[in-house]
Symmetry: C2
């Protein structure tokens, strides 16, 4: 099965002719620069281009629709049935029609082995136009000036406990990013450093001058330089948070069930921003070298963050859990004996005398794929999960989950790329059974080369590990 | 001045003949294996070898004495006066007598440029014998068996706001480490994995068997493997905490004023453990390659940890500080405008509307050497500082400081070393004016080579950056 997915993806990436040369004017709107029209379209229709979502924040979401797959797959009702067939387990990739995804994007997915009724993953590939909200200088914008910005966007959403969160994220997260970037349209195109302070209303003078500052301490009189890049990172971080808050607000009315890991890529003004919240993974293959563009957030990798939170806010443990970690569950008969443990400050282990409260359930337990927070969830970052509770309890798990991504930046202008170079995004199902090197060696190997090539994205969304074993 | 220190250190490291070959039996006690005698000696005497400190935990500390320098400098009263002379600023290194420090350890220090009355830094170099506390198996120990363990120890303590904490740490931290290792003497010498559980009393059966575990969740029925190495790491981590707690207990009676960064190295059973709490730095130079063995903990590198704590425990901010970071101090006239900020979750920056509480002092401010927590302290990990308060306030700063080190492990048995290889420990004063590469290139270059050599340590403790500028 793995080979089937590999072949499908390799075919997609390599068969479409030349890999795209770097967009000459990434800040120029393309087809998505159509003037704003009103609210987002129904989910079964092709997704509204983000640029057509209008200037209003993405604060509403249409009524929950039936199960769907990424729109770029262009599945007919029959195709959707086949994609959803656990027995057949067809590999899905976009049709080989004239209409290709940007940057020769490849995609492959397969239904899971039966752990959930539907494939709960989603994916998204968009070109998004950002119209400036207003002139930050307060002056009326000149119509002749290039006002907008355009970004390329790819998203992979690994859903769990329902497909609602992944579906909502695939439709709306890029709009939240667009909203966050609206304030920055002029700033990002201005070679000067970003102003530290903006006027509250257009026309009012901004204050980016610190000469009037008098502080008793030298640390207060200094002024940090903030880069354009860090503004984009901040915009993406806040977009994730706003997406998560929207899911919390609308979960009841719209059945936003479950949660999802989110791995998204934004290409803007020459730089690739890879934002990861969850256990998906992104790599760039450049001239045969593998550059990790994300790290996984799991109960193991985030143990100390989780334990610290449980330690500082013991009420979140509800008297049912202990923030301490033991190498296995403590048994009542071991009271008074000394067992290995580690707390939020430790990376090593030491012995401690077992007391009554050490018999509580461990906040973090298990190893590898079996590691869990509160014996329930195996990822510690993502979107949604607002209704997630500990089994047989009302204790919410969400406080321990973070919706914030780690964002890594890759400056495309700093490197030479060859036609085989590729950016690969995969959910854990891919990486559980395939190493970075294997993914690389099974990638495309044809297509014209030469300077100016950029790594074409390659998305794989096998929902479950078993999905690749056949 | 820098060259004077460099020369002194290079001389020390290179002049003593052959670099030490790896100790053949690092677990055999050497001269320090003398039978325990009673409490620690007075601080102006040569420090009691740790092995002679007796089996009692290091829970008491002798009365505060007058200012001193590391005992291995063997300073006469006249030498001590010269070492403490801000005008002369003599470089101090151990006398070139027949009695050399273990592993051809080199050392150099210079008094600061006048920021404090005395040099508040301290250093320590010891060979410590650990006698097992008891047989963990419960069986009486066979007298013929090698019962003890020996570790080599180097410590560098960068004091601030008084020399008491650094002095106390230099005399006692290795004893705390020894105490923590006492339970592990047999376990570390046993090739079997460490038992997960120890009996509460010798003779009682231990429980390291999980076959009786029945859990509803698979994560609860698993059992983690704990390595010997992670036990040593845990022992060092807990020793730092116990040292800090001892300082808190005894600060009133013994004038343990100030705080200190602590950078210590433990060599035990073939591995080098480098534990760092503060902004000192350790590197290993191996065949010309530089291997970083620590990272610095400052308000900048620990910004998110500090902000998270302020966010989760706002009472620690006393209504005086905000956990948000702004690129500079917010001014009252900017109320209602939008300024760049970042919170505990963000690495990027975004704009927010300035509200009244944003006018509070920032928890973290400044950049580089000027970065401060609560406008007061420029390091975020270390020992002591229990009395440290915000200037003109009763607000304690200690809750934001961590006494826990990050421990990195270097397996000496995995690498070949040449005679120029060296482990360098330096306080920030060294690294502020000297890059890793410069330190390397000014190191020793003579002495017989050959396999089996180990990196000899090299300690430099210039108290202040200015101390190197002359």
């Amino acid at each position: 099965m793995l080979n089937r997915v590999r072949s499908a993806v390799a075919h997609l990436v390599s068969s479409g002719g030349a890999p795209p040369s770097r967009p000459k004017s990434p800040d120029l709107p393309n087809a998505t620069s159509a003037p704003p029209v009103a609210p987002p379209q129904a989910p079964r229709s092709p997704p509204a281009r983000a640029g057509s979502g209008g200037a209003a924040p993405a604060r509403t979401v249409e009524a929950r629709a039936s199960f769907s797959r990424p729109t770029f797959l262009q599945l007919s009702p029959g195709g959707l049935r086949r994609a959803d067939d656990h027995a057949g387990r067809a590999v899905q990739s976009p049709p080989d029609t004239g209409r290709r995804l940007p940057w020769s994007t490849g995609y492959a997915e397969v239904i899971n082995a039966g752990k959930s009724r539907h494939n709960e993953d989603q994916a998204c590939c968009e070109v998004v136009y950002v119209e400036g909200r207003r002139s930050v200088s307060g002056a009326p914008r000149e119509p002749s000036r290039g006002q907008g910005l355009c970004f390329y966007y790819w998203g992979l959403f690994d859903g769990h406990a329902g497909g609602g969160a992944a579906e909502m994220a695939s439709r709306l997260l890029h709009r939240h990013i667009r909203e966050q970037l609206k304030d920055l349209v002029e700033i990002l195109q201005d070679p000067l450093p970003p102003p530290l302070c903006l006027p509250s209303t257009p026309g009012a003078p901004g204050s980016s001058d610190s000469s009037q500052l008098v502080g008793p301490q030298s640390c207060w009189s200094s002024q940090k330089e903030v880069t354009h890049e860090s503004l984009v990172v901040g915009a993406i971080e806040n977009a994730f948070q706003l997406m998560d808050e929207q899911m919390a607000r609308e979960r009841r009315g719209h059945q936003v069930e479950g949660g999802c890991c989110a791995l998204v890529v934004v290409y803007l003004l020459g730089k690739v921003y890879v934002a990861n919240a969850g256990d998906s993974r992104a790599i760039i293959v450049r001239n045969g070298e593998i550059i990790p563009m994300s790290r996984e957030f799991t109960p193991e990798t985030e143990r100390q963050r989780l334990q610290l939170l449980g330690f500082l806010k013991p009420e979140l443990l509800g008297g049912e859990f202990t923030h301490l970690e033991f190498p296995r569950r403590v048994q009542p008969k071991e009271l008074g004996q000394r067992m290995l443990y580690r707390d939020q400050n430790m990376t090593g282990w030491a012995y401690k005398k077992i007391e009554l409260e050490d018999l509580r359930f461990p906040l973090v337990c298990g190893e590898g794929k079996k590691a869990r927070v509160m014996a329930t969830i195996g990822v510690t970052r993502g979107l949604g999960d607002h209704n997630l509770r500990v089994c047989s309890s009302t204790l919410p798990i969400k406080p321990f989950l973070s919706c914030f991504p780690e964002v890594r930046v890759y400056d495309l202008t700093q490197y030479e790329h060859c036609p085989d170079d590729v950016l690969v995004l995969g959910t854990d199902g891919l990486w559980d059974v395939t190493s970075d090197c294997e993914v690389h060696s099974s990638g495309p190997s044809s297509g014209p080369g030469g300077p100016g090539h950029t790594p074409g994205p390659w998305l794989a969304s096998p929902q479950q590990q078993a999905g690749f074993r056949g």
